[in-house]
């Protein structure tokens, strides 16, 4: 167990290193000159040169990367070119909002997806099942910004049940979480359905019934924990999927998370921020998978971490 964790951490670090390198290369190649961006439109050539030198942009690529890594090891993500703020500080200030949104999304997609899937599995091959599965397909197939805009329009603008965008209270969280969770709910309901159908076919369910257990005991005591297994692994992967959706959802709902930060940074080619956000999201993805792997044995004692 201990050595497993150590090995995984080592692997994760290597992955993060790889990602930092890839991102750095990509950003290095991007046709936009940060020094000029900082210097502004009235700057003289001299000023631009000065800035280039101060930021080390005149160094060869590998030296720049090394500089970045050295900072990174010391926990320094650098300073935003245009926002003039420590990237770490910027990310930290926005991370809670994003995490909150993710949490909301995971909760909403699990609640919606699992209950839909369960119902569909129990009502297999009926109209209810078909209806639910079509609905889940709509979830999987809908562009997030269309859903976001639709929810915003109907529930916030027209009905006024929720605030129009913003951040702060529980009510602010509902619509963005639902938007982000909608896609996942589609996936989960389908996974839950097939996994549940699979589990309900297993011998041990028959055993449980043969014991004379009540229907709900069989369902929630025996079937559910087993059906959840593939889903736990999925939650880990989800974090990666959210990262994409978050840029869109945050901008639709004015949610102050790192998605917006990333988007603004990309628009202005604010390299330190892009680097930072990429690393943080990669870290979140790696961590998410890691945690999912660690949780799995708690739910399924057969899984051994080696």
């Amino acid at each position: 167990m201990g050595s497993y964790i150590a090995r995984r951490i080592l692997q994760s670090l290597l992955i993060l290193l790889g990602i930092s390198f890839l991102t750095f290369v990509l950003l290095y190649l991007i046709p936009a000159d940060p020094a000029r961006q900082i210097a502004g439109r009235s700057a003289t050539v001299q000023t631009v040169e000065n800035i280039r030198e101060q930021l080390g942009l005149n160094l060869p690529f590998y030296q720049q990367y090394f500089r970045y890594l050295t900072g990174l090891v010391q926990g320094d993500l650098g300073r935003s070119y245009l926002q003039k703020t420590e990237v770490g500080e910027l990310i930290v200030s926005r991370l809670p909002a994003t995490l909150l949104l993710m949490l909301g999304a995971i909760v909403s997609e699990l609640i919606i997806g699992l209950s839909m899937g369960l119902l569909a599995a129990l009502k297999r091959n009926t109209a209810v099942d078909n209806g639910l599965m079509v609905l889940s397909f709509v979830g999987v197939s809908s562009p997030q910004f269309v859903i976001g805009i639709l929810l915003l329009y109907v529930f916030a603008v027209q009905l006024g049940w929720f605030p129009i965008g913003g951040y702060g209270t529980f009510m602010h969280m509902v619509l963005p979480s639902l938007t982000l969770g909608f896609l996942g709910a589609g996936w989960y309901s389908r996974m839950m359905r097939s996994s549940m159908i699979d589990v309900l076919r297993q011998d041990f369910i028959r055993t449980a019934r043969a014991k004379g257990l009540k229907r709900w005991q069989v369902l929630f005591g025996h079937a559910m924990p087993n059906a959840m297994l593939p889903i736990i692994a999925m939650i880990g992967i989800d974090i990666g999927l959210f990262m994409s959706g978050i840029v869109v959802v945050e901008s639709v709902f004015g949610w102050p998370g790192i998605g917006q930060l990333a988007w603004q940074a990309i628009q202005r080619v604010d390299i330190p921020i892009i680097m930072g956000v990429t690393l943080v999201s990669a870290f979140a993805i790696v961590l998410g998978n890691f945690v999912a792997d660690l949780i799995a044995p708690l739910i399924d004692p057969r899984i051994k971490l080696r």
């Binding site: 150590a6 028959r206 005591g221 087993n226 057969r302």
Partner: protein
């Protein structure tokens, strides 16, 4: 059918009465009756065995009684099931629930999958108690523990906190029995409770069931296709075929004098341990010029590395095969027996060069080098072919069987075009299939036919040796007999040598010229069939032999000499070595490991 009642059952009262039971399943081609007009009575303290070949409706009968038929495909279509005074068919699910576990309990075939893998043993047992009795949790735990003790599990307290996968198959089946008995049911239905287990474990479980029945007086319906088990356990026997009862009789008369031809056929097909006693197996090719050794294995060793640690380095090894040596002559069958995990399959795989091995293997006198090139690799495979345990699993389900059988010829570049077709057709003929079946897919064949296809494929290259790894274990007794006959026929005709791997002592006795007994990676006894079966010397061989149920109720053993304990593990930490056995020749090449 006449009801001939045993002395015990005439006096005892009837606990379960089934009349004209009809069970139907929905298939794509419409409704199919799988249990057809079944009637029988079960008395207190009685054991009824339901026997019959696969698919005859045994399990469906049990599930009908339990009300656990797979919905919505199957349903009870007629008849009645009385539990005491109570009619069970047509009961609502909630009422049926109170019957299950409480009045009738059931044990299923697969101990591996019948327990919920994510819940502790204790919880699953406790649930069984709590489902029917309103006792405190602590009381339920106590009762669960009692049941665990009753089935004689070692360290019952600790077992309660363990998960199913931490227990061996035999232990799991004991847990299943404990669970079934926890509520003292009137009727216990056991659907093939030992098929998945090793012989020694099977013996333990059967003995346990007998003991428990003696203590509690529970009536038992035991479903099995193993006539040995029937002979060992039954008071009365019901033989089923195509959903119908073909014979219902007390066990002794049934075995002695089967009235129905099907029963007779079934009994005849059953390989009986000891049936060959006194007969010397004849190797038709023993005198051949080429009777020289076709396969010589010397000091074969196979170890698997297990990795771990931060850097994922090798931390321990599975010593699957340790210094095994044997040889095989033309036209000879060497039976290889031993319990699950002892390394039988691994030997087969090493011979086929599918796992890394050490030692020396010679085929027709030629050394098999651990071939580096694909061509060299192919060359020696021509003399050595393998037939696997599960014929369905070893055939690519997406290819036609004709293509499958022809494949070795293509791979080795031996035939193509019309010649290929002809040769495949010939092979089909040889194994008793018709060439027009060549275009069908594996799933369109029965188990026996599939195994014939596998044999045809193995024959395609005209090998000298065929390794048959549990090749008949997945088949029904009658089908099994056919396939064994085919193998024998081919051997006599073509002088094939077989390495016949099986855990079934009776089958091995039937087919082998010589026998090797394996125990955790090493051969502990080897000799001719008669030497091994009539004069077993090694304690492990004897233990194996004793555990085999004899399909003759007249020879029923009062008490099994129950072997106890678990088989040691072949996994060793790095640096540790397995102690090699030393052989003692008792004469005439009867080798026995010294202990």
């Amino acid at each position: 059918m006449s009801q001939s009642m045993s002395a015990a059952s005439t006096t005892a009262k009837t606990v379960l009465s089934v009349r004209e039971l009809k069970t139907a399943v929905a298939t794509p081609n419409g409704q199919k009756i799988v249990v057809d007009g079944l009637s029988f009575d079960l008395h207190e303290g009685e054991t009824i065995c339901i026997a019959g070949e696969s698919g005859s409706g045994k399990s469906m009968t049990a599930l009908s009684i339990m009300g656990l038929l797979p919905e919505p495909m199957a349903r009870v279509a007629g008849g009645s099931i009385h539990l005491g005074e109570r009619e069970l068919t047509g009961l609502r699910e909630s009422e049926m629930r109170s019957v299950r576990g409480d009045d009738i309990a059931m044990i299923f075939q697969e101990p591996m999958t019948s327990l919920n893998p994510v819940l502790t043993i204790g919880r699953q047992l406790r649930e069984a108690v709590l489902a029917h009795e309103s006792v405190s949790r602590r009381e339920a735990d106590r009762r669960a523990l009692d049941a665990m003790k009753a089935v004689r599990l070692s360290e019952p307290e600790r077992r309660m906190t363990q998960y199913p996968h931490e227990l061996s198959g035999g232990m799991r089946q004991r847990v299943m029995i404990a669970m079934a008995l926890a509520c003292h049911p009137k009727v216990l239905i056991a659907d093939e409770p030992t098929t998945a287990l090793d012989v020694t474990i099977q013996a333990q479980i059967l003995q346990l069931m007998r003991d428990l029945q003696k203590e509690t007086g529970t009536a038992i319906i035991l479903i099995t296709h193993d006539m040995g088990v029937v002979a060992e356990m039954a008071d009365r026997v019901i033989v089923m075929q195509h959903g119908k009862i073909v014979e219902d009789n007390d066990v002794l008369p049934l075995f002695e004098n089967p009235r129905d031809p099907y029963t007779a056929e079934l009994l005849a097909a059953v390989p009986k341990l000891g049936a060959m006693a006194g007969k010397d197996p004849a190797n038709v090719h023993a005198g051949d010029m080429l009777s020289a050794k076709v396969l010589e294995v010397d000091d074969l060793t196979v170890r698997f590395d297990l990795k771990g640690g931060v850097l994922n380095r090798v931390v321990s090894r599975v010593h699957a095969v340790e210094g095994v040596s044997f040889e095989l002559a033309r036209g000879e069958t060497l039976g290889l027996v031993g319990e699950s995990g002892c390394g039988k399959s691994t030997i087969g795989k090493a011979l086929m060069n599918l796992v890394p091995w050490e030692g020396s293997i010679r085929v027709s006198g030629e050394h098999v080098v651990k071939a580096k090139t694909a061509a060299a690799d192919r060359a020696y495979r021509r003399n050595l072919q393998m037939v696997f345990q599960d014929p369905y699993a070893s055939l690519d389900p997406r290819m036609t069987v004709g293509d499958l059988v022809g494949e070795p010829l293509i791979i080795h570049g031996l035939a193509k075009g019309q010649e290929l077709q002809d040769r495949v057709a010939g092979l089909f003929h040889r194994v008793g299939l018709t060439p027009d079946q060549m275009r069908r897919h594996p799933h369109e064949f029965s188990g026996g036919q599939r195994q014939r296809i596998c044999i045809a494929r193995a024959l395609a290259l005209s090998p000298k040796v065929i390794i048959a790894d549990e090749s008949v274990s997945a088949l029904d007794v009658s089908v099994q007999a056919q396939v064994l006959d085919l193998l024998k026929e081919l051997q006599e005709e073509m002088g094939l040598a077989y390495l016949f791997i099986s855990h079934d002592m009776a089958v091995v006795e039937q087919v082998s010229h010589r026998v090797a007994v394996m125990y955790i990676g090493q051969i502990v006894e080897m000799g001719t069939r008669r030497q091994i079966f009539e004069n077993p010397q090694h304690p492990y061989t004897r233990k194996l032999m004793k555990a085999v149920p004899i399909p003759d109720p007249a020879l029923r053993r009062g008490v099994f000499e129950v072997p106890s304990g678990e088989i040691p593990s072949p996994i060793m930490p790095l640096g540790h070595d397995v102690e090699r056995v030393q052989f003692l020749d008792l004469g005439d090449r009867h080798l026995v490991a010294q202990s």
